[in-house]
């Protein structure tokens, strides 16, 4: 299942890992490639992870790591048009998503899974009142065209908006970024989805408003058992709300870990390096100390080094790392793609 190399241990996770029930979403060996005149280029290679029922899972990665593309593929937003080809295995609630006909996938979107994007203002219609936009979602979810307003107001109230009648009669530009993001979440919730995918939902927001939105997401998980797949570049956001964390690097899953194991038990050198390089609050070190930076830069897709993509920046790299790409090896609910961490020589 891995393009290069083969691990001695299972490259495929055991069925039904940590939780007994099968996960709501299981992604295996996801690959997204771009056909170009000069040949095929892989933007995402070998992405695998699970999202359990009632769990918040964070996909953490830098720009170009393929995190947004991966969740868009799950949502079925990449489609078959254009130059992108999606292959691999996406099991959602017992169904193989990539094998579904376009109409079936459309039925899935917005009903069983819904998505919230980074820029709420760019994703709301600027010339339509907010209430009418939410109403469209409600009407589609309930398959009827009348009497949507009570449910619209209920949804707006549910996401913590004050003065919901006024909000419903406002245009997006009359609301703040945080309020617009709440409106987006309300729209996503209209059909009571099983999985909410949120792509950097707080990156455009101020930190005090970010805290409110993260709090809202946690409440939806706790109160309604919703599963949430959250994409972020900010490890501290993941640490604050996720049950498990998927670390992506240069188009692949580098590590999958429980959040509680992230600190102290991170296994991939990239994860470790990232955690070490971030300044910490309230430390005595401060100005007199240097941060432990990861050297080098993130490789461009199409210019990946041979072997493990992180090996040129890795201080633990051994010869094999620059020759063969390590497979993602699972043990229990966690996984790591690293020759050194997996003890292979």
């Amino acid at each position: 299942m891995t393009p290069t190399g083969s691990g001695s241990r299972a490259a495929v996770p055991p069925d039904g890992h940590a939780s007994q029930a099968s996960p709501l979403l299981a992604v295996r060996g996801l690959r997204i490639s771009q056909e170009r005149p000069s040949g095929r280029r892989d933007l995402v290679r070998e992405v695998s992870f699970d999202v359990g029922r009632g769990e918040i899972v964070c996909v953490v990665g830098e720009s170009g790591s393929g995190k947004s593309l991966s969740v868009k593929a799950v949502m079925g937003l990449l489609g078959d048009r254009g130059s992108l080809r999606v292959t691999g295995d996406i099991q959602f609630d017992g169904r193989e998503v990539l094998a579904l006909a376009p109409e079936q996938r459309r039925a899935l979107r917005g009903r069983d899974m819904a998505m919230v994007f980074q820029e709420p203002l760019a994703n709301l219609d600027p010339v339509m009142r907010v209430g009418a936009q939410v109403a469209e979602c409600v009407q589609r979810a309930e398959q009827r065209t009348r009497q949507a307003m009570p449910r619209v107001l209920e949804l707006l109230r549910h996401v913590g908006l004050p003065d919901v009648e006024r909000v419903a009669h406002s245009y997006p530009h009359q609301l703040s970024g945080g309020m617009c993001q709440r409106v987006m979440i309300a729209m996503a919730l209209a059909a009571r989805p099983k999985l909410l995918i949120a792509d950097e939902p707080t990156s455009a927001l101020d930190v005090t408003v970010q805290a409110q939105i993260l709090d809202l997401l946690t409440r939806m998980k706790d109160d309604e058992g919703m599963s949430i797949l959250l994409v972020t570049h900010d490890l501290s956001v993941a640490a604050a709300i996720a049950d498990s964390v998927i670390v992506m690097y240069a188009g692949r899953t580098a590590e999958v870990t429980r959040t509680s194991d992230l600190f102290g038990h991170a296994r991939h050198p990239y994860t470790e390096g990232l955690l070490r390089s971030l300044p910490q609050r309230g430390q005595a070190a401060g100005k007199d100390s240097r941060l432990v930076a990861i050297g080098g830069t993130v490789p461009e897709p199409g210019q990946l080094p041979l072997g493990c993509a992180f090996s040129p920046r890795c201080d633990k790299a051994i010869d094999r790392c620059s020759e063969q790409d390590p497979p993602l090896e699972w043990s229990g609910g966690s996984a790591v793609a690293c020759w050194v961490a997996n003890g292979d020589d």
Binding site: E62, D206, A211, L214, S236, A239, K287
Partner: protein, 356 residues
């Protein structure tokens, strides 16, 4: 009330008695905006910066934190001389920016340089990055011959940790971190006394941010340059700044030693800001959301204390009077009638063991 610029406290902390590199005295900048409404064109005044006083000592790093719309970028533009204040004075090395003209003003300009958030949009895409630096060096040192200008350019590129061959690259051929290094080399090309850095790392890849933070701090240790850093990442600000000022709706609500302000805040807004930032630690789980609502608009600043509309500790007095920026501990100022309890310590302790 003690001097709100904090001349006594911070200067003692910075260990200097020299003229500050930057002094801002009661700087105000209002914008008039016209909005088309159903009732016609309505004029409103945006109080972007509404009376800010601060100073930056030699070799010191002062950080300004605050949410979007608090006026931090307007303040940076005023310090850079790119915007005129509506009122108040900005002194660079003791000289009032607005009071000088011509040659004197031109001589003041190179002493303050900027590092911008997005190095891609602040470099000319069709100019080799080496030429972009050469241009600044040649303009600053008119008497230098080409060989000397070229040598200085190479020195600057090496100083920011780049290979000399990168001088021939176009911005698009460099990574974000490399471009920001070029931006920093350009800023240092005029041997400035003060560099204003507006979110210098927030557009960069997370794994590269630490490299740039280290570079900025190394360059300061070598050159003794002062920084005015605008940012919102509290952990990074705590790491690089000597002192931090917290801006809310155009006014400083707290100012003091970075670690004290961010880990033992006295103003309720600073406390909320610090608690809202998710902590990167194993025990990071806690109630995140501590503030309800969002900042009031700079078009309609609340009476009295401008934070009172979101403050859990607000009393009636807060709506009636505006609390002054008062020195609550040596070098630590907060504008609050009912500040949070502080930890008693002397100036010496504050300098040596900010968390002890």
């Amino acid at each position: 009330m003690t001097d709100p610029r904090g001349r006594h406290g911070p200067d003692v902390l910075a260990g200097t008695q020299q003229t500050p590199v930057l002094e801002a005295e009661d700087v105000v900048r209002h914008f008039t905006s016209r909005t088309l409404t159903g009732r016609g064109i309505e004029k409103s005044v945006v109080r972007a910066v509404d009376g800010v006083s601060l100073s930056v000592g030699k070799g010191e790093t002062l950080g300004i934190v605050g949410e979007s719309g608090c006026g931090k970028t307007t303040l940076a533009l005023i310090v850079l001389g790119l915007l005129r204040p509506s009122a108040g004075r900005v002194l660079i090395d003791g000289v009032d920016l607005a009071a000088v003209r011509g040659a004197q003003r031109r001589s003041l300009r190179p002493r303050v340089q900027a590092v911008f958030q997005d190095p891609y949009s602040s470099l000319d895409p069709r100019m080799r990055v080496g030429s972009a630096i050469t241009e600044v060096v040649a303009h600053h040192h008119r008497s230098w011959d080409r060989a000397r200008v070229r040598a200085r350019t190479a020195e600057l590129i090496e100083m920011v940790g780049l290979d000399g061959s990168k001088a021939d690259a176009y911005p698009a051929q460099l990574s974000g971190g490399q471009r920001q290094r070029i931006g920093i080399a350009k800023a240092f090309a005029t041997d400035p006394d003060l560099i204003v850095a507006d979110e210098p790392v927030s557009a960069l890849d997370v794994s590269v941010q630490a490299q740039i933070i280290n570079l900025l701090m190394d360059l300061q240790a070598e050159n003794g340059v002062s920084y005015l850093v605008i940012g919102h990442g509290l952990a990074a600000m705590e790491h690089i700044c000597d002192r931090v000022g917290v801006l809310y709706l155009g006014k400083l609500v707290e100012l003091g030693p970075a670690r004290v302000v961010l880990s033992e805040p006295r103003h309720h807004y600073t406390a909320a800001l610090a608690d809202s930032a998710p902590a990167l630690a194993a025990d990071g789980r806690r109630q995140l959301s501590v503030l309800t609502g969002e900042p009031a608009s700079a078009r309609a600043v609340p009476s009295g204390c401008r934070f009172r509309t979101r403050c859990a500790a607000a009393q009636t007095r807060c709506a009636e009077q505006e609390p002054p920026l008062a020195e609550l501990a040596p070098g630590h100022f907060a504008a609050c009638f009912y500040p949070k309890a502080g930890v008693a310590r002397t100036v010496e302790q504050a300098r040596l063991a900010p968390n002890g």
